[in-house]
Every structure is written in structure tokens, then in C-alpha cells.
């Protein structure tokens, strides 16, 4: 493997990267993030 360009920087694990595009998990996150954002929008209006 090639040496890291920035060895002191946090990098995601394979599991984290996998979850980012894993459809069932992302469908849940879609709902959850929308709820969080609607909360911010409601509080800000």
C-alpha cells in the first residue's frame, strides 16, 4: 500500500464507508436527517 499523504488525519473505516451507500441504512438516514432538518427549520421560522 502507498504511504498516506496525511498520516495524522482521521480516516473512515471500511464499515463507515460501506454504510454511506448501503441502501437500507441510507433510507433510514434519509428519514432521520429530514426530521432533524425540519426541526431546525421549524425552530428558525
Amino acid at each position: 500500500m502507498a504511504p498516506l499523504m496525511h498520516p495524522y488525519v482521521s480516516r473512515p473505516t471500511r464499515w463507515t464507508v460501506f454504510l454511506r451507500t448501503f441502501l437500507p441504512w441510507q433510507l433510514w438516514r434519509f428519514v432521520r436527517i429530514n426530521i432533524k432538518m425540519l426541526g431546525i427549520i421549524r425552530r428558525s421560522h
Binding site: 488525519v9 433510507l27 432538518m37
Partner: protein
């Protein structure tokens, strides 16, 4: 007959005009003055700039929208404000240079209430060689983004022929804002190079005036994550490291020659970096409207700060960075000089920087200016419209507030556009301007400030693209869609 005149048809101006028209009913007229007769959903210019969208997918013609809703439209650029009228009449008015008209031609547009939502002037001239007419690309307008996409396509062709290409994305001056937009561009660019099978021949570098990555002109953010309170710099650096993007922070771009950027850093080092493709955002100022009293005396400095942004109900008293407070930020956006004049969106003058300002040994300011686009701009436009309509109906002063130190923002930064493999960083912050009186440790409510990268964010970004363009078309139910 009450006349509301809105200067500008961007996110703030268009929102203000639409709500003013809806709430005003038959009590008066609403006129929009804009040099462009179309609306540009600027957040999606990123996708035009990497060749994934056409300009007509991020713009809508305004004339039919305004004709349908009874909003008058003047196609031109506001040049002067006469808030007291002149010797011939006490009625306030603005002068407008018609688009495509003869140089020096002028239209007089009278008003009872004025909303200045003119947005920024793109100051490519602040850095020699900067901009799409010179040696670098931009995505500030849909036209710039098209040019950037063509340049990117040429680079991709070269890489397909076996050449290596050096990409630099970021800021074109030490005082730039909108680092978030440049951040979206660099990660989309990297994603597209992978999608087109040429990533291994590309060197990609982020050039920024931020003291730390993830500052975004907001002093950074903090998130609760994995048992820690973690700064946004950690997440930003992690994403860049994961994507093989190198970075240069604390930098001021001094000059852009063909194929070479000259920049200096906070430590005073002056360096140069060769490139094949550079997308560098310009610094902003106000558009440079002049103001005159009824006798023709120049009162521009009563209405505007030296950077041409409009003074509103903020505390502009100069003070050290440590002494500023969230309460310094404006709430009603009413001009202190003329109560029937307001500013909305980028056009209002922020009272101070959110990110700590720094200066290089040569005297160059190196710090992001405060961002005030998107959701807050629309909310300010809506609040100003409501206040004006209430004042027309008898209220003594503004009735609505929209302080950026009291509102949160939801933001989705695209990190690659694909319905199955794309991702975006979804973020919320509350409040936008940190309030260290209410939240002494981090300036923000950590329960309402979060960030996450994933495909869900990309779906939300697509949803918002269509939702906000629907809203901008003022289709049925438009006012139910939140800002």
C-alpha cells in the same frame, strides 16, 4: 397605492417579492428590478460546473412568473437611490440603467418601501489574473459554471490521452467567502474524475484562506461524534485524505498567471503552484449603488459601508474580535438612516467576521468573510417582506426579525452526484452566528448541530433542487415550502 420595490431577483430578492405580493393583496404594487430576467438556483451551479447539468436546469425565466402573479419587472441595474426624492418631488426613487440599453440611459422607479437584495459584486479585479475572463474558472454564475465544465472536459480528454493534470480549487483572495461552494466543487470534481476513469492521472489541491479546514467562514462547527465533541476540521480533513485531496490552508492568492498561482501564507511565505485547471472563487463586495439627498448631496456613506454593503440595524462600532457578541447582528434589516429602506441577503453589511481575522506579515488579510446565502437569505427576505406589509397596514416599525444569531441553518453539501454511489454532507447548525452568551463553550447548541456524510444527503440535495425551483416558479402551494 403603496409601492414596494425590490432590487435583485436572487434568493433573497425573489423570496421577498413573492411574499410581499402574496401578503399585500390589492393594497399596492410590487416591482422587481434585476439585471437578469431569470432566476438562478445557485447551489446547483456546482453540478453545471462539472458537466452534470445544463444551465437551463438551474435557471427559470422570471417574466412569465411575475406576469402570472402581478409583480412588475424592470430589467436593468439599480445605480442610485434618492431616499428623499429630489428638488422636483419628495417621492423616493431609484434610478435604473436598463439592460441592453444605451450607456447612460436611466429609468426612474419610485418607491414607498425599498428592499435592497442586490447580492454581491464578484470582485475578480481584486486579484490580478483571477476569473473566467482571465486565467481561472468560477461557478458563481451559471455562465461561469458552463465555462468551467468545458475546461474540465478538456482536462479529462488530456488525461484520457495519458497526460497528468493538476487541479487547484478554492479561494482567489484572502478575504473570500463561500468556501462551502468551493468545497462542494472540489469533492464533486474528484468524484467525477473517478467516474470518468481518470482519477489516477489527477493531482487535486484545495487552496483556502481558512485557518483550519471546515471553517467555512462560520468559525467552524463542533459535532458530538463517537463520545467526543469533534471540530468540523477533523471531518473535512478526513474526507480530503480519504479522497486523496491535498490542501493548503491560511493562504491569500496574490496573482493568477496562465498555469501558475502565486499565493502567500499567514507565516509570510510567498509561493507559487503550477496548475492545469483552477476554480477559484472571487471575493465579494456590494454592487456599488450610490445614494443622494434631495439637494443632490452624496449620502452614500449614510446608507452603505465602505465595502458597498448596506448598513442595517447591526452594531457596526469597530471593536476587537474578542469583544463582538451575537447581539451585534441585525434583526430587522431596516436602514438606520431611512425607515422605509431595508436590505436582505448578501446585500446587508455584516457587523464583523465570524471567523477570527488574521493578517500576514505583508499586511494581507487572510480570513473568510461571513457567509449569508441560501436558507438565511430567503428567511431574511421573507421577514423583511412581512415587516413592510405590516408597516403599510399601520405598524409603527418592523414586526418580524430574522437574526442569523437566532436562527439555524440546514445545509447539504454535495460530495458526488449519483443516485446509488453519490454522497453529500448533511449539516445543521444552530445558531448560524455563534452565541457565546447562550452557549459559552462552543457558541452553538450541540443538540441541534450535526453533520453526516452519505447517500441520503445526495437524495436530499436532489429533492431540494426540485423543491426550490418549484417554489421559485411560484407554483400552487409554493408558500408552504419552507425556506
Amino acid at each position: 397605492m403603496n409601492r414596494i420595490v425590490v432590487l435583485g431577483a436572487g434568493i433573497a430578492g425573489h423570496t421577498a417579492a413573492a411574499f410581499a405580493r402574496k401578503w399585500l393583496g390589492r393594497d399596492g404594487s410590487v416591482t422587481v428590478v434585476s439585471p437578469k430576467d431569470y432566476y438562478n438556483w445557485i447551489p446547483s451551479n456546482i453540478w453545471v460546473g462539472v458537466g452534470l447539468m445544463r444551465p437551463e436546469q438551474v435557471t427559470i425565466p422570471l417574466r412569465p412568473v411575475y406576469a402570472r402573479h402581478g409583480i412588475e419587472f424592470v430589467h436593468g441595474s439599480a445605480r442610485t437611490i434618492y431616499p428623499e426624492g429630489d428638488g422636483a418631488s419628495p417621492t423616493p426613487y431609484v434610478t435604473v440603467e436598463p439592460a441592453g440599453g444605451l450607456a447612460g440611459a436611466s429609468i426612474r422607479v419610485p418607491y414607498d418601501f425599498l428592499i435592497n437584495a442586490t447580492g454581491p459584486r464578484l470582485r475578480f479585479d481584486k486579484t490580478p489574473g483571477l476569473g473566467p475572463d482571465a486565467n481561472s474558472q468560477s461557478v458563481c454564475t451559471e455562465g461561469h459554471a458552463v465555462q468551467a465544465a468545458h475546461a474540465l472536459a478538456e482536462s479529462v480528454e488530456r488525461m484520457r490521452r495519458g497526460e497528468r493534470q493538476r487541479f487547484i480549487v478554492g479561494i482567489g483572495h484572502g478575504t473570500c467567502t463561500c468556501e462551502g461552494a468551493a468545497f462542494e466543487y472540489i469533492v464533486n470534481l474528484e468524484f467525477e474524475l473517478r467516474a470518468r476513469g481518470v482519477r489516477d492521472r489527477a493531482e487535486i489541491v484545495w487552496l483556502t484562506n481558512e485557518y483550519e479546514l471546515g471553517d467555512f467562514g462560520m468559525g467552524g462547527m463542533h459535532f458530538r461524534y463517537g463520545g467526543y465533541v469533534t471540530p468540523s476540521s477533523t471531518f473535512n480533513a478526513s474526507l480530503f485524505a480519504e479522497r486523496g485531496i491535498d490542501w493548503i490552508t491560511r493562504a491569500h492568492t496574490r496573482q493568477v498567471d496562465p498555469g501558475v498561482i502565486h499565493y502567500e501564507t499567514l507565516t509570510g511565505e510567498v509561493r507559487e503552484r503550477p496548475f492545469d485547471f483552477a476554480m477559484l472563487l472571487p471575493p465579494f463586495s456590494g454592487v456599488g449603488i450610490k445614494a443622494f439627498d434631495r439637494d443632490g448631496g452624496d449620502i452614500t456613506t449614510r446608507l452603505f459601508q465602505p465595502n458597498d454593503f448596506m448598513k442595517v440595524d447591526a452594531d457596526y462600532e469597530p471593536k476587537p474580535f474578542e469583544a463582538w457578541r451575537a447581539a451585534d447582528w441585525p434583526r430587522t434589516y431596516q436602514s438606520p438612516a431611512y425607515p422605509n429602506v431595508f436590505a436582505a441577503g448578501i446585500a446587508f453589511a455584516p457587523p464583523h467576521a465570524i471567523s477570527r481575522p488574521y493578517t500576514s506579515p505583508s499586511g494581507a488579510a487572510i480570513a473568510p468573510a461571513p457567509p449569508r446565502t441560501g436558507m438565511p437569505s430567503a428567511m431574511i427576505g421573507k421577514a423583511v417582506a412581512r415587516s413592510i406589509v405590516d408597516m403599510i397596514r399601520g405598524s409603527q416599525g418592523p414586526t418580524r426579525t430574522a437574526s442569523m444569531a437566532e436562527m439555524g441553518a440546514a445545509c447539504v453539501a454535495s460530495a458526488g452526484a449519483n443516485p446509488f454511489t453519490g454522497t453529500a454532507a448533511s449539516m445543521t447548525v444552530f445558531p448560524i452566528v455563534p452565541d457565546f452568551d447562550r452557549y459559552p463553550e462552543y457558541g452553538r447548541d450541540l443538540g441541534r448541530t450535526f453533520g453526516e456524510i452519505g447517500l441520503a444527503g445526495h437524495w436530499i440535495k436532489i429533492l431540494l433542487h426540485h423543491l426550490f425551483l418549484y417554489k421559485a416558479r411560484l407554483r400552487p402551494g409554493w408558500s408552504l415550502i419552507p425556506e
